[in-house]
């Protein structure tokens, strides 16, 4: 269904752009989103950043976007259409667009690409991502403190390094403040499907979970948490309107400064292929305000962790840490390097269950 929608939106886009291509001195920037811009999560924030680009450069820039593009072959077609219709810079905003981006980038060496959360680069392909695991360390601390059943539910999307990093970081920090804490992880195999996300939240709550974290894009889990009277964290967006009582805090993605800077670089010819991985310090990862459900001492503790990560004095993955099988991953005081983190494919010691493959 979304694929059909994509074909037609893609076709409509191509038609619209052939006429616009005559206005040559504007820079054309395309965005590809994995969900609808109204998901109030991941795609919503990327679109907010697109609007920020328009605001920053006014008439000098023209932006287009295609939403709900499935990861895989459909993405390749949408990207090809965008490249053919005269875009100078294209942001592909989901991990699953990695290979399509590389394929299309190889065919269009003059078009610049920016791929979010991936690890493959080329001379016309940059990657960028946020250190979401820094935010997870903060909300993991809160989760460990506030849970009464000692069961924290985690709605995970796909078993990719970014998601696994988040689970590990949240668990490490919850465990640090609450040795009895247990994580129940449910993989839903989708980024956006409110009904499934709601079902997963319900299943977790029925099994005794009283705090929910999610790594999916819609606010469905927050709504269910509100309805069932437990607490949860906003993901990608603040989501407070969906859970006025349930929301404790949130991890907010702020892509706007990066997008504005990169579009600017493309305009003045200084754009180069880069690898950006920014965190709390750079403002790409924001921590939403702590609600009054977070006790003052816990809020102070969480804020302290956020501050120490921001100042660089603390890294969320600092040894001693063991892998799930008990072997040593990081020795005492050792800090995980970015290369290992980028390809993280194992749980840390204490998390139960296997990562699906």
């Amino acid at each position: 269904m979304t694929s059909i929608k994509t074909i037609l939106t893609g076709a409509a886009l191509a038609l619209g752009l052939t006429t616009a291509a005559f206005a040559a001195d504007t820079t054309k920037v395309g965005f590809v989103y994995v969900g609808p811009i109204g998901d109030f999560g991941w795609s919503y924030e990327h679109n907010q950043a697109r609007l920020a680009v328009e605001e920053a450069y006014g008439d000098k820039v023209e932006t287009t976007y295609v939403e709900s593009v499935p990861e895989g072959a459909d993405a390749e077609r949408v990207l090809t259409q965008m490249a053919l219709s005269g875009h100078d810079l294209i942001f592909t905003t989901s991990f699953g667009y990695m290979d399509p981006t590389m394929t299309v980038a190889a065919k269009f060496p003059d078009v610049k690409f920016e791929h979010a959360t991936g690890y493959k680069r080329d001379k016309n392909v940059s990657t960028y991502s946020a250190r979401f695991y820094e935010g997870r360390a903060v909300i993991g601390t809160i989760a460990g403190r506030v849970t009464k059943t000692n069961k924290v539910g985690y709605i995970a999307s796909f078993p990719i390094p970014e998601v696994i990093r988040g689970i590990n970081s949240a668990y490490i920090h919850a465990k640090k403040v609450n040795p009895d804490v247990e994580f129940k992880i449910v993989w839903v195999y989708t980024w956006f499907d409110p009904a499934k996300e709601a079902d997963a939240a319900t299943a977790l709550i029925e099994q005794g979970v009283d705090v929910i974290m999610q790594h999916t894009d819609s606010p469905a889990a927050m709504t269910i948490a509100e309805e069932k009277g437990i607490v949860a964290f906003g993901q990608a967006s603040d989501m407070v309107q969906f859970g006025p009582n349930a929301r404790l805090s949130s991890i907010i993605d702020n892509w706007a400064p990066y997008y504005v800077a990169r579009v600017g670089a493309a305009m003045d010819g200084t754009w180069e292929s880069t690898d950006t991985w920014a965190g709390i310090k750079d403002g790409m990862v924001g921590i939403g305000a702590f609600s009054d459900k977070v006790p003052a001492d816990v809020a102070a503790e969480a804020q302290a962790i956020s501050d120490s990560i921001s100042s660089g004095s603390y890294h969320p993955f600092t040894g001693p840490l063991n892998k799930q099988d008990g072997t040593v991953w990081l020795a005492d005081g050792e800090v995980a390097d970015d290369g290992t983190l980028a390809g993280l494919d194992f749980y840390v010691e204490g998390i139960e269950g296997d990562i699906p493959n």
């Binding site: 109204g38 998901d39 009904a195 079902d199 997963a200 029925e206 099994q207 709504t223 269950g353």
Partner: protein, 310 residues
């Protein structure tokens, strides 16, 4: 692994909730297809029902009015499809796909300003003695009224198709529209009514999503439920009670696998998720394996355009 963490009573209760949207949409589509029309716009009608039901319930404060409005909205959208395919004799597959696209876009437009709002809660059934029974009470007697309405729809559809004159005429139109026309039945009118019924049911299914199952409005929130409803109709080989079986199976697999995962059972999630589709393919293979079986099932005039030549 801790299977005892799964409460079978709660599991069955969530399963029924997860199955209801696709159950409603599928029974509507079954009637449409039994009348010989293939409407692939279920997804579009569902999402229109989801947003219209949500908006009306928020504005009036009554979930019941919301559901009624959703049914009307779904039926109204389906009229567009009916006009294209029954009056203009357009291709049904293309028109259905267009209806889905149109519905998704229109719902996003209507839904601006409704994201983040809370729908009024739908009261659950609370019968004095029955709802308080230990196990049966929770499984059978404490749902919201729509769960029972959906099951009643299945029973009603089955009875009407099997025993009533209306059902006979509807099936005649779906099996051989030329013969039905020759007998004096208004093929186009009957089909338009069937399409509207399908639209109303899909609208109700969508509203169930936005008012009860997820209680929120998010763009594109049906996320493919309409297509599952279409698959269920085929899986059910166009028989009402099997639609219910299919919906509970499709809905149940999702809920079951989430519960197993939460309980720490290491199961290959992918296989469980694709199980309903594999079963659908198997059903199709078995159905088409011999002529006698095939003849028993799909309506003979399904998807064919009717043009009265005399």
């Amino acid at each position: 692994m801790d299977l005892s963490a799964i409460n079978p009573v709660l599991l069955v209760a969530s399963l029924m909730i997860a199955a209801t949207p696709i159950l409603l949409a599928a029974i509507g589509e079954l009637v449409v297809e039994r009348a010989g029309v293939l409407n692939l716009g279920v997804e579009g009608m569902m999402i229109i029902g989801a947003i219209c039901g949500f908006a009306i319930a928020v504005e009036t404060g009554s979930p019941l009015v919301g559901f009624v409005g959703a049914a009307f909205a779904g039926a109204a959208l389906s009229l567009l499809f009916a006009f294209l395919t029954q009056i203009m004799l357009a291709n049904q597959v293309a028109s259905g796909l267009a209806l889905t696209l149109f519905g998704l876009g229109l719902s996003a437009l209507i839904g601006q300003g409704y994201a983040g709002q809370k729908p009024p809660p739908t009261p659950r059934l609370d019968l004095p003695v029955l709802s308080d029974m230990p196990v049966l009470g929770q499984v059978l007697f404490s749902h919201d009224p729509m769960v029972y309405f959906a099951i009643a729809m299945i029973a009603a559809t089955w009875a009407v198709l099997k025993y009533s004159r209306v059902g006979l005429i509807l099936r005649a139109v779906g099996e051989n529209h030329d013969a039905a026309h020759a007998l004096g039945y208004k093929v186009v009118r009957i089909r338009i009514l069937a399409i509207m019924f399908g639209g109303a049911c899909a609208g109700l299914g969508g509203a169930y999503l936005s008012l009860i199952r997820v209680p929120q409005w998010t763009e594109g929130m049906t996320a493919g439920a309409g297509w599952i409803a279409l698959a269920i109709v085929v899986f059910a080989s166009w028989k009402p009670w099997r639609v219910m079986l299919g919906a509970y199976l499709f809905g149940g697999v999702t809920v079951l696998q989430f519960n197993l995962q939460a309980a720490g059972v290491s199961i290959p999630v992918q296989y469980l998720s694709m199980a309903p589709y594999v079963i659908t393919i198997l059903v199709l293979v078995i159905m088409s394996s011999s002529k006698s079986r095939a003849a028993l099932n799909a309506p003979a005039a399904l998807g064919r355009i009717f043009h009265a030549t005399h």
